[in-house]
């Protein structure tokens, strides 16, 4: 169990580092938000799931899973609110439009 937890945490740290590199490299707000979304989804999932596995079966595991579910529900809403504000305030993305 502990070995599996360590593997999950290291994998999550890898994704978190990739997301940080993405926030540095990508060109504009809209593209950077994809990198932050990568952090929220897979990186946080792997790290927190590894910690839950390390705790073993019990109340602590369920509590960490509650935090995980909360992150999965709330973070898309935050990203969408920020990007909608950016779009309405007139920040144009470097993108081609089609309808």
């Amino acid at each position: 169990m502990t070995v599996l937890a360590v593997v999950f945490i290291l994998l999550g740290l890898f994704f978190l580092v990739v997301a940080a590199i993405g926030t540095l490299r990508l060109p504009d707000v809209f593209a950077r938000s994809h990198a932050v979304s990568l952090t929220d989804s897979l990186g946080a999932f792997c790290v927190l799931f590894g910690l839950a596995l390390y705790q073993g079966f019990g109340i602590n595991m369920f509590k960490i899973l509650v935090v995980l579910a909360l992150l999965f529900l709330l973070n898309p809403v935050i990203a969408h609110a920020t990007l909608r504000a950016a779009y309405r305030a007139g920040v144009k993305p470097q993108a081609e439009e089609n309808s």
Binding site: T2, V6, I9, L13, L16, V17, A19, A20, T23, L24, V29, R32, S33, V36, T39, D40, A44, V47, L48, L51, Y54, Q55, I59, N60, K63, I64, V66, V67, L70, L71, L74, N75, V77, I78, A79, A81, T82, L83, R84, A85, A86, R88, A89, G90, V91
Partner: protein
């Protein structure tokens, strides 16, 4: 095992520094808001890892839950304000 978790804490802190660069440097306000969102996600993970180090996860998880909810309210307030003001 404690050493491993301390290394995890250090890596997360360095990642927070990277996002802090984005907050300070970001060309528009929304880059800064996005960087703050990333920092708060890291902080939530960091609190849970610190709780694992101190072996008091049941208490620290409650703190991180409150942090996640406060982050939602704060991000909404900033987004609504900037949306109404209308300038980047």
């Amino acid at each position: 095992m404690t050493n491993f978790f301390l290394v995890v804490v250090m890596v997360l802190s360095l990642l927070i520094l990277v996002y802090l660069y984005r907050v300070i440097q970001g060309p528009t306000v929304f880059d800064r808001v996005l960087g703050l969102n990333g920092i708060s996600t890291k902080a939530i993970i960091l609190v849970v890892v610190i709780g694992t180090v101190y072996d008091r996860v049941d208490m620290f998880v409650d703190i991180s839950t409150g942090y996640a909810l406060l982050n939602l309210v704060g991000a909404f307030a900033i987004a609504k304000f900037l949306e109404q003001r209308g300038t980047p």
